[in-house]
């Protein structure tokens, strides 16, 4: 696994399920940054410059029907969070956003996320 550094002008991809986007608002929902009992303390992302394309990243993760959100590292840092490279054998572009420990921060992350690929919708949305 090749180590890399997160750059200030990096952009990050976050996989989004159909239940984690609001098609009416055109936005990600705050639940996109929850895991287990609440806010995810280590939010898995991928670094854009290390991924061939967002569509390919979904295919490689065997989640071709999922959507993809994009966040700018500068915006993430401005929320008081950290981004750390965590390359994995099967995902060399893997990184994590650290420090999201409140619903407020998850909502702020949703606000700065651009949905660049919409998931396939399997069920009705409200």
């Amino acid at each position: 696994v090749e180590a890399f550094e997160i750059l200030a002008d990096d952009e990050l991809y976050r996989r989004l399920a159909d239940q984690q986007v609001d098609p009416d608002k055109g936005k990600a929902r705050r639940n996109a940054f929850y895991r287990g009992s609440g806010p995810d303390p280590e939010i898995s992302v991928q670094v854009k410059r290390l991924v061939p394309s967002p569509r390919q990243a979904l295919i490689d993760a065997n989640r071709p029907h999922f959507g993809m959100g994009m966040l700018r590292v500068l915006d993430v840092l401005a929320l008081g969070l950290r981004v750390e490279a965590r390359p994995l054998p099967d995902d060399p572009a893997h990184a994590v956003i650290l420090g999201a420990d409140t619903r407020t921060v998850c909502d702020q992350l949703a606000e700065i996320t651009d949905v660049i690929i919409w998931p396939a919708f399997a069920s009705a949305s409200t």
């Binding site: 399920a17 606000e111 409200t126």
Partner: protein, 138 residues
């Protein structure tokens, strides 16, 4: 476990029909629906969420109409459900945990200047809180 969201007479009201449809659709979610290990909503969370929506609709429907219905209903990774109401420049997200625990996030405004408040409350206190906020800020 397959759960059926039980209907009552009041649910035939147009106010609650979309809520029933949405909660019923969440029953079909499978484990790992978010690809990061999320659990499907529990029967407790779904039933509590529906019961809360009924009470809000009964209390506030006559005063604020369709705004008494949650604008959004989302599953949570822990098997809970989130109900979101919108008022003028305001959002209240009520989280119903997998065992029926209650908490909320209140947001005033949007973007970088938004102000937030979050707290855990008992169901009755949550109902009073939602009532107070929606009636004064609708």
């Amino acid at each position: 476990m397959q759960v059926r969201v039980a209907r009552t007479t009041v649910d035939r009201d147009v106010l609650l029909e979309p809520v029933l449809q949405r909660l019923s659709s969440l029953e079909a979610l499978a484990e790992d629906w978010d690809s990061y290990g999320a659990l499907p909503p529990t029967s407790t969370a779904l039933e509590q969420a529906l019961g809360f929506c009924r009470r809000v609709a009964e209390l506030l429907g006559p005063a604020i109409g369709e705004r008494a219905r949650p604008a959004e209903i989302s599953p949570l990774a822990n098997g809970g459900v989130e109900l979101e109401w919108h008022g003028a420049n305001l959002l209240i997200a009520v989280e119903v945990g997998p065992e029926g625990e209650w908490s909320y996030l209140k947001k005033l405004g949007s973007g970088p200047s938004a102000r937030y408040e979050e707290e855990n409350l008992a169901e009755e206190a949550m109902l009073r809180f939602v009532q107070e906020v929606l009636l004064t800020r609708s």
